[in-house]
Amino acid sequence: MSYLELKRKINSFPTVVWVSSITITILIAIPLIYMTIRAIGAGPETWDLVFRFRTMEIAGRTLALAITVPLLSLGISLPLAWLTTRTDLPFKRTWSVLTVLPLVIPSYIFAYVMIVALSPRGMLQQALASPFGIEQIPSIYGFFGATLSVTAVSYPYLLLPLQASLRGIDPSLEEASHSLGHGTFSTFKKVILPQLRPAIASGALLIALYSLRDFGAVSLMRYETFTFAIYNQYLTPFGGRMIAAALSMILLFIALGLMFAESATRSRAKFYVTAKGSSRKADLVALGRWRWPALAFCGSVVIIFLVLPMYVLGYWALRGISAGETVQVVWSSAVNSIQVSMITAVIVVLAALPIAILTSRFSGRLSQVVEKFTYIGFALPGIVISLSIVFFAVGTFMYQTLGLLIFGYLILFLPLAMGSIRNSLLQINPDIEEASRSLGRTANQTMRSVTIPLSKNGMISGAALVFLVTMKELQATLILSPRNFDTLATSIWHATSEAFFARAAVPALLLILLSSIPMMILLIFGHMRENYEKIGSSL
């Protein structure tokens, strides 16, 4: 790119986009600065300890999880996304909501429920014991249980962007493929799948990074990853912080490795069509007899990842109440959860938008570095991120305010919104923006009347993701929230940590139910908008 071209390109974005992108990028560096300070403070003995300890072993286990979970999630999400967007599957909207909901279940709750249900002497064995005489079932602990639990609470990171991309694909390409004699499967493989590549890569990256930083599931499943080791360091009062920072540094390098692996899968390919026909919805594939296996697939996913946990939670609630436990729902915590999650969803999407616009329109190295940079918060254990914010904010008027908590969420969840928005922007031909400019609209007007409306799908799914994960976030909420501030997630945690199962079950069920309402509204709203807002006609 020549200097003049670059200059022209820079000028094609409003200043506010540049300014806010740079500001946000700088703020995200906070955990890095903190880790560096702590790791330097650690001194040589700490580093000795870090290298003496089974670092390689833990690294191997961590990587194994970070590779298996995304693969398994892809196997679940790809069929689900296609079935719920492109076929005549019955009850599509219901499946869309139900299959995303496992995302709101805190991972330690899911893992605990899995142990109750599937441990060597758990509910399943009890059920099988009398009719079949099965004494013991294979152990769920370790790699298997950790993979299952982490997948359960993270596969929607892939499902949501896949659905958004599938909705955004121009149907004319498929029609061309059909007219050239390709069947449904062959068209999917040759036309649709390649277009989904950015969504798959970025979703899989999010899941891989989430596997790095999950604590609840891996600890209960007794699968020692870096994050598990880091938390255990915080349990040790002396010098633990320094070792934790040193370990976080190593974890960060693993995360960077995964990010560059994802970059390597990106090509210079374009994911938009150059000459758009009229944009309309693709024809739905008639499933015919395949409807039954399709329904069975959706049903099994929902049963394992949503119904089973809700069943165990319901069982706890009823058992406890009938044994005389007093269970009160603290409505203020539900209100707090919803309020803070909604504000966070809006703010995170607004913050992600400028960065997503810049990184999807510049393909240079700098833009890639900036984009990767925003993923840091998502790959590190919540306790490290939160303490880094404490380190910088304590003593200021912001400390222990709602604003700071939301800022913490922003660092943690920015890539969720960014990925979604980026994917939808990659499906827009930048020539449309060029055309708007050449027709006399300013950079601002183009942004408002072209770019932003066209990325609405991505913004909506990004907001949905951020909302759901904020609802269940625990670590940052405990450390950064104002005093006397309880959310559903913290109430569940208080109760489970002291084995008050009935008292944990009620807010956990409420968390799932309340999260599903905005999800339904978003999906229905998104559907309606799609129906009468023809993208092409707005130009």
Binding site: T15, R54, V394, Q400, T401, S497
Partner: protein
Amino acid sequence: MAKIKKRTMMGSHAGQTLWAVTVVAMIIGLVTGAYIYVIHDSDSDTLVIYSGRSSELVDEIIKEFERTTGIKAELKYGSTSEIAGMLLEEGRHSPADVFYAQDPGGLGAVEHMLDTLPDDLLEKSPENFRSPQGRWVGISGRARVVVYNTDVLTEVDLPDSIWDFTGAEWRGRIGWAPTNPSFQTMVTAMRSIWGEEKTENWINGIRENDPIAYPRNTPVVRAVAEGEVDVGFVNHYYLFRFLAEEGEGFSARNYHPRGGGPGTTMMISGAGILETSENRENAQQFLKFLLSKQGQEYFAENTFEYPVNEGVETHDMLKPISDIQFPNVSIEEMNDLEGTLALLRRTGVIS
């Protein structure tokens, strides 16, 4: 042509200003909103308590304190280690007045940030249950026990001392939670009573029996009741939570090793006042309240803990203190968590 261009540029400029103003207004709105949200009813007399104990355990008694004294309390909950980590990061800027911790390890980690307590407050707790420097005071106790599965074992089958679980007959039958602070406190007691070598032998002996490591006490108790393991090394009071939820049919019970020794160590929850607190009088009142008859009865009746105030009776479901052979370990020796961690790392039990 030139005219048009000029207009667009002006339009562009105005548009950008509008954007910038919107963004700035939003940020200002957010910050002030957040500020007001917290500031509106705080005043300087409000007591700020950082609690490493779950709200399920202490919320009621704190509400009772507010009602009785008229002092308002603001709470920040977390696990004891998280709160200790937070206090260390906060340093002198910490807004906390009181740190109420689940175990002495957490208090020990921030002991240099705590103020010396007056004698009349310290004396309400037995000497072994408070900081040797007088910086924190024990509030309630939990006994180490062996929890066993009642379908396969009775108390008669269980050995006199926790040492005996190194025997080969216990292979594959033991559950423990080595990263749990209470477990580590028990190992500290072992080092003090048995000496370094015997403790290391115990750890290696248990390790040879392939124990299953759980992240916390609760999963150990559940695993014992379900027969995943036959015995577990835990604190006594989790069992009573399960009994309350699942009824008497729950197939696990506690055993206090009859020969005493480190297997019956008493764990202490305690509280201290931050040196930086500007609210010491109220903070002291809070500690006094927890140690009063009313406070101690609350712990005995509601959380199934052992009161530190000898005038208050323990819950009738618990084995009375007088029937348990508690080891005699001084609090100074119990403070050597660092040595315990070094031992546990050396033996590969924790990383």
